[in-house]
Symmetry: C3
Subunit: 246 residues, 3 copies
Amino acid sequence: MALLLFTDFGASDLYVGQVEAVLDRYAPGVRVINLLNEAPCFNVKASAHLLAALSKQVPRGHVFLTVVDPGVGGTREGLVVRVDGRSYVGPDNGLLSVLWARGTVKSAWRITTWPTEAAISFQGRDVFAPIAAAVVTGEFPNENVKQIPAPGILLPGEDLAEIVYVDHYGNAFTGLRGEALATDRLLRVRRMEIPHARVFSEAPPGQAFWFVNSIGLVEIAMPGVSAARMLGLRVGQPLEWASGIS
Amino acid sequence: MALLLFTDFGASDLYVGQVEAVLDRYAPGVRVINLLNEAPCFNVKASAHLLAALSKQVPRGHVFLTVVDPGVGGTREGLVVRVDGRSYVGPDNGLLSVLWARGTVKSAWRITTWPTEAAISFQGRDVFAPIAAAVVTGEFPNENVKQIPAPGILLPGEDLAEIVYVDHYGNAFTGLRGEALATDRLLRVRRMEIPHARVFSEAPPGQAFWFVNSIGLVEIAMPGVSAARMLGLRVGQPLEWASGIS
Amino acid sequence: MALLLFTDFGASDLYVGQVEAVLDRYAPGVRVINLLNEAPCFNVKASAHLLAALSKQVPRGHVFLTVVDPGVGGTREGLVVRVDGRSYVGPDNGLLSVLWARGTVKSAWRITTWPTEAAISFQGRDVFAPIAAAVVTGEFPNENVKQIPAPGILLPGEDLAEIVYVDHYGNAFTGLRGEALATDRLLRVRRMEIPHARVFSEAPPGQAFWFVNSIGLVEIAMPGVSAARMLGLRVGQPLEWASGIS
């Protein structure tokens, strides 16, 4: 079992290392994998859709420490969920609710006891990391949580017709799942209609195309250049299928 | 025990991996944590204050490999210090001197024997990493060092009334420690006077505020936007308490 | 033995973590080192020269997962090579051919069986990572590969008179190896003639200089500022010795 981080703490910043030091303390010897620390900053909805798709690529049994948390230090609760064999620890702000809505076998716990010395602005380090360590080492559930029927904040589990992530190549991930889509569909975004191509090497140069990417989402790309820059795409940008409802 | 990196080698660059390969060779099986590899570039003073605050968040017993080293290849010496249960290996250029000045139980060693094949421009890999590995594996002190009473270059241990770090959210860390500060103080920077708020969610939108952050430093932030960009703050920017000396 | 990543997947993006999850599954307990995940994007030639120099800094016995792969999803083949005690897994597109050309004791295998469920756009995760794990755990060669005399795509092993990498300090690496170069040579790039200095601290302020860097390549730098920005240097920029052929 490994511990996987999915946060907006920044891949280059000083936050992830502090979390890793806590995980090392409470779960020594367990591998830590930085799945993504540049999740859409403060954007819980986009992050929730990205996490739901991304975590399915990871073998069951692993434990996710997930923090995209604009409300840190406020009144939102903390949460642990177990969905189809994977466990997740993070804020109860909707971040874990898309994968929850799509899951089959699932349990949820509220974090009831918070460490008294926790920094108010870094609960990822002081609250969620110790609990993630407890989950991975099997010391969970414990007296610091109580089971609840479902997360408090629930977003819908349906596809999200928006850009949810832009990678460093400039490819734009949507919140649309690509399974069993007809490939003659046109994807409409910013008044453009974008056709399908199976892969980069089959798209005409300079031509935007959509394809089903390696985490199962519809993605907009252009061969050799940044689709996001060329087409003006950003996280949150709405889109739709030109040929009607999906 | 883990090895923690605190450097300006760049989180995305080709230097950290080479250091990790050396650490793997001389300290196989020891966890390496990238605490921060984007320390203020070439800025020893700001880095020294940031390191002093950050390292207190890490459990005792760990070993830090610390390199912010504008004088690499010149005549500056190499140093190992042990301060209050944590060990640090790096250049003797002031980087380790703020935590030294604030420490209680402490020892220092000069590096007297340098590997003959060391690259002149990458002593972090060829000089400091092997010694950090020796410290973590208990093969220290050894014949390559000699004990000295204190580091050669000493910066004052008092608070630094400057910006010492800007994180990827745009929050600006100061070199002022926040313990036991009255919260009615105003922090003056670039002719603005900034009030205290306990946490982001309690600050008015669009209002800059200061708070005591998760590593114990006074930090300037704005809800939902980059304080550094909005207020024009950079590492090295001086500041002061409006209501007189701290 | 460790697994080392050399890719253009991006150091901050969501690709490396997915690869690490696969490596953890098939080679549990093996250390993964991110040597460089910001290799020149889509630039096989520059990356091949950088990799050839960089990998010599790593002890023998290690296994490299190498992906710079503009043709992913097309018809290019997959490759494993073993050169002078180090193993490399990646696309057969020239990336491994510079180190191959320079090597002495060497073997090559073509990947003949591809996983049927592999994502067409992320063969690094689904094809190359499992094979790299097999190499590091000793389950190689296996029935999924067949030995071949040499890689299919071969670039010349001679020095490359171009910029091949720009680091985060703004220093520009060339594809010229620096061993045994006379230090009175002038390096000509963009109509400038750049003299040698042994190290940063010996170069005059504001003066560009070349030196032999920590991975054995000729590098262009300026004290305290970004040489790449000041001189307008980018990957691919041609250069030459002013005093004739090297």
